[in-house]
Symmetry: C2
Subunit: 232 residues, 2 copies
């Protein structure tokens, strides 16, 4: 694996405080790998042989059953996924596939568990990361159960707007089909929601969105710190 990748991983909250030799062992055992778009990385029900880290690109976590399929989350750099299955040595609850060409780091699960036992700092970091994953799913669930579809779309745009530092023009980071599934609706409904929001402070043009009236957008979306704030 490349030295720059190694430094990127080292800077992750999960690895920042890990002992040098423990970190070395983890990295020595790991594989960095570039994947084309739309490659299935893992399938739900299989066992967790590697902890995955997205170094570059974009990975979709999804789940399916009886002809239906839904996106559960989108993982962007630099984050881990399937940590829970790894530490508990349990089968995946979700499948994963690349959305775009992506660089991944695979760390053997056994090494992760060993490092956990050897290094209290790593243990502490894993707990923090796991707790964040948990809270993130809880927020998604509140988003789904407590909000109408238009509110979900509106708040998604607000988050994008914030992440872009309040830029007037923002761009959807991936296709609307994925986005619709994440937000718990059909692509057709997402289209209509975007349409409806155009009288409430936004202007759509394909994947580009112009924020014309942030106050109006917030008025209809009713953002909530305990759902939308990625910190907290």
């Amino acid at each position: 694996m490349r030295q720059t990748d190694r430094e990127i991983v080292r800077d992750l909250k999960l690895f920042k405080d890990v002992d040098a030799d423990v970190f070395d062992d983890l990295m020595t055992a790991s594989y960095a790998q570039r994947m084309p778009p739309h490659v299935e990385l893992i399938r739900e029900g299989e066992s967790a042989d590697f902890l995955h880290i997205v170094l570059d690109g974009c990975v979709e976590l999804f789940s399916s059953g009886h002809g239906r399929e839904t996106s559960m989350a989108i993982v962007t750099p630099v984050s881990t996924f399937i940590l829970a299955a790894t530490v508990n040595d349990a089968p995946f609850l979700m499948s994963a596939r690349t959305i775009e060409s992506s660089k991944l780091l695979l760390i053997p699960s056994q090494n992760v568990r060993d490092a956990f036992a050897r290094d209290p700092h790593f243990a502490r970091a894993i707990v923090t990361e796991l707790a964040q994953c948990y809270r993130s799913v809880v927020k998604s669930m509140k988003n789904l159960k407590l909000r109408t579809s238009i509110e979900r779309v509106g708040n998604y745009i607000i988050r994008l707007h914030d992440k872009a530092g309040g830029a007037e023009i923002i761009e959807l980071p991936y296709g609307k089909k994925n986005l619709a599934s994440i937000l718990g609706m059909t692509p057709e409904n997402l289209s209509r929601a975007f349409g409806a929001l155009q009288s409430h402070g936004i202007l759509m043009d394909g994947a580009r969105i112009e924020i014309t009236d942030r106050a109006a957008l917030e008025a209809i979306s009713k953002p909530n710190r305990l759902i939308d704030d990625p910190r907290s």
Copy 2:
């Protein structure tokens, strides 16, 4: 706190392997408390001063916003809740209230974090518990996004049936209003779903359900290990 309670807590997976003196410190700092039904224990947004453990009774985790409200989970003995907020020292994402009269054990969050740092066994147990919480929410979310309301109700009954060891007559453990909210629907719709399932292997009588044809119930519910199995 009573000696029997102490032994019950000691037998929890979370505390089974904890060092004796660490466990002593935790218990000395803790409070056991009996609460009447329908008491609000914590409110979302507040900070996590105590890790909560349900020793007896039944606690509802719920969330609200802009006039809407939804149940997120029901915690039954003997389990912890708000562990993630406790270990990360973050604000609650959910509120909690007793459903019935309940006995709770409250452990100061600072003591939990101290014990985590002192005892690797406790650290390991916390990770396992957190990962289980995470996986449990993911399953709930799959249940919501991947299934129709009738399938959700059907699978809920199947789980009850299994928990009761396959008894022909089973009983709903709490009110239908709560159940409806957990399953992501209105009480009216839950009534109709129960009605619809009566031609598929069940017979309702108030809170009592007779399982007349388990195969038919499974045929319409399509149970899935990766959603319904509490282990895994």
